[in-house]
């Protein structure tokens, strides 16, 4: 039975350039909760993020992604955005000549279908910039062009704050940030989440535990390995992983009955 207020991933298999990366992912993120998805490099976390948003290069072999009960895999990225999905990119893309403020104004109207006067929109934007400790002059800069790594990541969260999504996937937003910036980003996410009053779900994809330390509330931690979600538990799992390391976990999982890792290149 599909959950009507959740992002529900069922048996999702995805290939990139003919190589299968996701080998049957099952994961549920309800609205009103913050989940983490952790895992070693190459486990398929980013592939999942890009697939959820509809990147054209990712080929879905099997499975479903249900959002509020509807399979969204056939929808284009903009249609998914209009339904409330948002992806904070691991590598935000530079768009020369397009000012951030103008872009967000257009995007907000496209996403919500509402017309908002420029003046009012700009006042709101300035508020959101403050939330992320960003200078108002950012609005006039070209989208991601010449931004530092940290600025790009903050700009992603800014866009999330402005576009008011209902389901957010943050793809390694913490990577490349110093600890102060991690705290600013985490606090902003907490604020946006609190203000949404249960209308937003968040999936934080990360390699490390450190951003999760600042996320309040954190409802669940999922671990991905070799294209599958292999473990799912409360927030304390994040700390345990930090102590044990992924290698240790991998070994433990191998020892468990019923977990058989496919030999690589078995297709």
């Amino acid at each position: 039975m599909a959950q009507t207020d959740a992002l529900e991933i069922r048996g999702l298999r995805v290939a990139v350039d003919g190589k299968e990366i996701l080998k049957g992912v099952d994961l549920v993120v309800p609205k009103g909760e913050i989940h983490a998805l952790m895992g070693p490099n190459g486990s398929g976390k980013s592939t999942l993020a890009q697939t959820l948003m509809g990147h054209p290069r990712y080929e879905v072999l099997e499975g479903q992604v249900l959002w509020k009960g509807e399979n969204i895999l056939e929808l284009s990225p903009d249609e998914r955005a209009k339904k409330g999905l948002f992806l904070a990119f691991q590598y935000p893309v530079e768009i020369p000549g397009v000012a951030l403020g103008n872009f967000l104004h257009i995007a907000y109207q496209a996403r919500t279908g509402q017309e908002v006067p420029v003046g009012r929109f700009h006042r709101q934007l300035v508020q959101k910039l403050k939330l992320l400790d960003m200078d108002p002059s950012f609005a006039n800069r070209n989208l991601n062009e010449g931004f530092s790594g940290g600025e790009k990541k903050r700009c992603e969260i800014l866009q999330m704050a402005v576009l008011e999504p209902e389901m957010v996937v943050m793809d390694e937003t913490d990577s490349g940030l110093d600890i102060d910036a991690v705290r600013i980003v985490a606090n902003a996410v907490n604020r946006i989440f609190a203000e949404s009053q249960g209308k937003m779900g968040v999936l934080i994809i990360t390699h490390y535990q450190r951003i999760l330390r600042y996320i309040q509330p954190l409802h669940r931690v999922n671990v991905m390995m070799d294209g599958r979600v292999v473990l799912s538990d409360g927030p304390e799992l994040a700390e345990r992983l930090e102590e044990m390391g992924y290698d240790f976990l991998e070994k433990r999982l191998h020892e468990q009955a019923g977990f058989v890792k496919e030999p690589s290149g078995s297709d």
Partner: protein, 444 residues
Amino acid sequence: MSTVDQKLTINDRLSPQVLKDGEPAWLTELRQQAWETFLRLPLPSTKEEDWRRFDLRGFRWEDYHLATPPPYTVVSSVQQLPDPIQSQLRPADADQWAGLMVFHGPRRVFSYLSEAARAKGVLMDELTTDQPTDIVWQSHLHALIRPDTSKFVAAHAALMNAGVVVVIPPKLVLEKPLHLFFWLDEPGAALFDHILVIARRDSQVTVVLHYASPENLPSGLHSSGLELYAEPGAAVNILCLEEWSKSLYDFQFLRGRLDQDAYLKWSLANFGARMKRLDVHSQLAGRGASTDMLSLTIADQNQHIEHHTLQEHVKENCKSDLLFKVVLLDRSSSVYRGMIRVHPKAQGTDAYQANRNLLLSSNARADSMPLLEIQANEVRCTHGATISRLDELQLFYLMSRGLPKRLAEKIVVDGFLQPVLDRFPVPIVSDKIRRLWENKISGR
């Protein structure tokens, strides 16, 4: 008059109808010489470096005839002009211009010059035998555009069937622009218009050229020339908006010669033509002269648009700044070939040249060839060319924020072209240019 005479069939005499009543002997002579040049020169071939990508295999002179005048003569108000012309002239009224001249095919059908401009001695006239126009024509015509440059220039010189001369008297600052509008709505018609602009010492003027045809005009040929003289201290803006149908062959030769401390800005917007060659030269012939050369082109379907530029630094301490931007959709293609030439005397030259291409389709193709020829040693010359594609990743990123594909493409194009348009001199024309590119991007 036989039909052969009306066609541009290659024979050894001019079509008689191009010889207007009372045309002066010097002009007839000039036509005759140009016609001989035309007959002598071969059609440019792709074996020539300069025409390498301009495939003229589908072009036949026999397909064209000299544009015939419309079935009405001069009207006294814009409201009496045919509807399509009126709608092209909107939203501006005649009095938003210091002068307005409308050509329907080869015929001037409307002409307006404000009292103020007339009183101050501004001359804006058709090619006539009246004094002093005739003298101005005779001493300047084809001095900057030599008929033997190519077969198309020779044809233009021999068969010129519309002409305008503009003279701005010394020290006069004309606040409002002069506007020349050309409308071609006859299939297979050839228009060879020639425009001569002389800005006397310390004068200032903006001239707006607008070429348009019905969108579905099935064929046509346009080969035009503009010669501009900016005398010492003069400042001139030439803005040219071209929106031919996508079936025309278009050859445009624009030449500016600048005297000491003169300034010239080209602002060019190119939308139409099946195949087009735009040839723009700024010749900095007096000390301290400077020029800005701006152009934007948006091509789609199978359009092929070429831009050939020359920044010629003849004298010392001159400045030239060129920015040509090109957006290509579908299977369209473009060429940019730009030369900075610095003569031995031109010390203290400051020359800049940039050609930027944005490709929105994997089937589009842009070629960019910046060329330098520097014979002075104290110069600063920079040039750069970029060809970038709106890539899959940029589109995905923008779409992930809720923008449909077309809108995502549009905002990238807006961001790409707007900085050029911001430097164009006439806001009311800029609005129109922006609407035209928006339609071209989102109307597919």
